[in-house]
Symmetry: C2
Subunit: 148 residues, 2 copies
Amino acid sequence: MSTQRQPTVDLAEERLRSSGVRTTRARRLVIEKLIRVDGPHTAEEVGKLLRSAVPLSSLYRTLSVLTASGVLERFHDGAGVARYELAEWLTGHHHHITCGNCGSTQDIDFSPETESTIRRIADDAGETVGFAVTGHRIDLEGLCPQCR
Amino acid sequence: MSTQRQPTVDLAEERLRSSGVRTTRARRLVIEKLIRVDGPHTAEEVGKLLRSAVPLSSLYRTLSVLTASGVLERFHDGAGVARYELAEWLTGHHHHITCGNCGSTQDIDFSPETESTIRRIADDAGETVGFAVTGHRIDLEGLCPQCR
DNA sequence: TTCCTTGCAAACGATTTGCATTGGA
DNA sequence: TCCAATGCAAATCGTTTGCAAGGAA
């Protein structure tokens, strides 16, 4: 194994620096862990992944700082619980598909052509209601291979 | 003004009956109100729209029953708060656009051609990950006319 | 009459915050 | 050093629930 770090870690920490926040142990741990697991996770799940090395209240603050700095993105799942994952500029733009039966979620990628089709549709729709569209989120629902 | 009721009200109450739940005052009030306002609303907002005629705890139960019966749909907004609106089979399929600044949300409609494009994209994407796609949700983000 | 539904208050669970202490630059 | 970050405990806030009283079928 080489001594080279994951480039994503460096990019993320660089972003923290330029946001004027310190790179601390908890922040580094969270970033490194979220690189290794894919898909969005709740604060509690991240806590367990870190073997409770960071108390939940501090973890919430950490996740909040990382989200504010643009390193993470947050959304709420069907139960209303916040889930965090690496921001798209680190992982690439993607969407989600969720199994309506078992609730499992996975990332999906569209082709560049498809993405540009979607952006065009989004821009048009925004224009008709006077919004300046800045982004889009697509969640597909279906039955996963195990449940179908 | 005619004495004819909104067909949507009748459809919704019919659905309640066939779900085996009673048609009560609170349930009727909520349905009638949500027909008159568009876009998704929080429990608290619905409560205010009803001039607090239904206590919040009962309102939550009402919204929960209506959602379980398929009269309403629930999702969680950017702040993680539950928002309710008439189910798509009553209002027609649509999507949402949310202002990233003030948080206001409104419904948007795509043309039938656009919808079929989206369905095709969704089906393709599902196929590549082995999911049988049953539906899609698109949330656009942007700046509303007031905030842009 | 028979259960389902309601209202109230208390309980909950996810998330946030005050404050004294610790630690990064 | 100096101010930001942490840990703990207590506070918040949206939402749910137990229970006795009221209401739809």
